[in-house]
């Protein structure tokens, strides 16, 4: 496993685009995640009455334990940045035809795919770690008191966030393997959200029961949007076994389809 991971990382670490995309991604992740209070102040400035009706300093955005879900959900929005890196990494192998040479040189098709999947795992784990550190630091700064174990409720949103990122990267890798060209793959990725949204809205009245089973919906459903709770609405502030099972199943399906495609096609 380490050997295959090293091979793929060697391809990436000398690639300037990789550092630019990852640099921007982690910068936005860290700085963005830490700037929630600034965001609220900005909202108070542009929305009339926002700052007067609700005292923004009393919104416990960064308080334990709210912070876990707040940050896990917000940072999940940025995963498209990593996905684009994954798409570039796999489609480059097709444009440069280096996938062909890798196989000729003695990689099996399974090993080639695994090297990419392991990189996805590393990227997802690095994202989780970065967000976790930010959560701990900002939580310690803003939380008025530390009340264990209450402060740790919802910390399971981090493994869920990890699965969310990994599932989406698996999806991107699969689209990349099927389409093989970076521009088109990125467009398909962007539109797949919209297309799924339109389908979901259209069947909402007839078959609402199947909506949680949609692939992208299942990925978003892992960590539900938390902010409505500050407008006194009910939200789901825990992880359901069902959502994890569906997302895991899709992750498996994405990677299996990538495997099937690689196995069957001439390279």
């Amino acid at each position: 496993m380490i050997h295959l991971l090293k091979i793929d990382l060697k391809k990436l670490t000398s690639y300037r685009t990789f550092w630019i995309i990852c640099g921007m991604y982690f910068f936005t992740l860290v700085v963005g995640a830490a700037s929630g209070m600034e965001f609220l102040k900005w909202l108070a400035r542009i929305i009339d009455g926002f700052g007067q009706n609700i005292n923004i300093n009393r919104i416990p955005l960064y308080h334990f334990p709210d912070i876990w879900q707040n940050l896990a959900w917000s940072c999940g929005l940025l995963k498209m940045g990593l996905a684009i890196m994954v798409v570039i990494s796999i489609t480059n192998e097709y444009t440069y035809r280096t996938i062909r040479q890798n196989i000729i040189d003695g990689m099996s098709r399974e090993e080639f795919l695994l090297s990419k999947v392991y990189t996805n795992l590393v990227l997802a784990a690095a994202s989780m770690l970065a967000v976790f550190l930010i959560a701990v630091v900002t939580g310690l700064i803003y939380s008025p008191e530390l009340d264990f174990p209450y402060a740790l409720t919802g910390i399971a949103f981090f493994p869920a966030y990890f699965l969310e990122v990994f599932a989406f990267l698996s999806f991107s890798l699969m689209i990349g393997i099927f389409i093989q060209r970076s521009g088109l793959t990125i467009i398909v990725l962007l539109f797949s959200y919209l297309i799924e949204l339109i389908i979901k809205e259209n069947i909402d009245n007839y078959l609402p029961g199947i909506i949680p089973f949609f692939p992208l919906e299942s990925i978003m459903n892992l960590v539900p949007m938390p902010f409505a709770r500050y407008a006194f609405q009910e939200i789901r502030d825990y992880i359901t076994i069902g959502s994890v099972a569906i997302a895991l199943a899709w992750t498996f399906i994405f990677n299996y389809l990538s495997y099937r495609k690689l196995k069957k096609s001439d390279i």
Binding site: K11, S14, I104, M107, S265, D266, I267
Partner: protein, 269 residues
């Protein structure tokens, strides 16, 4: 391995190297089933050199050494062999075509392979580049490695190879040693300061078809007759040849003959 464009040379090699899935049939390497582990012992370059353009030659080879599980010390050795040591830290995309081909050969040699597969290694090179690559191939062959060469350059194959196979539309048309190409009919080119040379040549028992060309005659020898027999015959007649060359059949000629013989029905074999 010879064959016109689109005859299936690269596809055949692609199947042997695991990038093209065969629709039927089977093969083995060194008596073993063809797995990716076996491929690590083979050095192959198909069609044109393939490398990561944003990596240097050195880094590309390091990556390949990881895939092939080859010792890292081999990198400087193979780079020296193809005379790329001075440019090893430059990005691959800055290399000239000849340098790319040379790096490809270096990469194929990385794991001290038992078999080397080269697919048109001199394709698109200038005469100097061709000479360089040919020199490298000969040096490698002198080390006792088996080289499978796919090429258009029949002259090159005749000089470098011991056996040859001809493909046409995916079918094997011929296989045999290169040595045997010259055997069989002989063509003798002869000229002499004698007005009736054409008539006298017809008297020779070994003469087949005689053609007159500018300043000389071309005599196709019958079986068992050679240039020296003709020379003796003329000498006995009191004629001294001013020009006498025995021409053996070239691979090129045989190649074209094999392809011409290939009847459409044979294609469906």
């Amino acid at each position: 391995m010879l064959g016109p464009n689109g005859s299936g040379k690269t596809t055949t090699l692609g199947m042997l190297m695991g990038v093209v899935n065969p629709t039927a049939g089977s093969f083995s390497w060194f008596g073993q089933p063809p797995t990716n582990v076996v491929r690590k012992k083979i050095g192959a370059v198909l069609e044109h050199p393939i490398f990561y353009p944003y990596l240097s030659g050195q880094k590309n080879l390091e990556l390949m050494a990881m895939i092939k599980e080859a010792p890292v010390e081999n990198i400087s050795k193979v780079l020296a062999l193809v005379e790329l040591s001075t440019r090893k830290d430059d990005k691959y995309k800055t290399y000239s075509l000849g340098m790319k081909q040379r790096l490809a050969i270096a990469s194929a040699l990385l794991n001290d392979p038992i078999v080397l597969i080269l697919d048109e290694p001199t394709n698109g090179l200038d005469p100097m580049g061709i000479a360089e690559i040919r020199e490298i191939i000969k040096r490698i062959a002198a080390d006792g490695k088996t080289i499978i060469l796919a090429s258009h350059l029949l002259d090159e194959v005749q000089k470098v190879c011991t056996h040859f196979a001809v493909l046409k539309r995916g079918n094997l048309m011929h296989i045999g040693p290169v040595d045997e190409v010259g055997k069989g009919e002989e063509l003798v080119e002869v000229a002499a300061y004698h007005d009736d040379l054409g008539v006298i040549l017809q008297e020779f028992a070994g003469s087949g078809v005689i053609k007159r060309e500018e300043g000389h005659f071309q005599v196709m020898m019958k079986d068992g007759f050679h240039g020296q027999d003709l020379n003796r015959f003329l000498f006995d007649k009191g004629i001294v040849a001013s020009h006498l060359i025995t021409k053996k059949k070239t691979l090129e000629k045989q190649f074209l003959e094999i392809l011409a013989e290939a009847h459409p029905t044979a294609d469906r074999k």
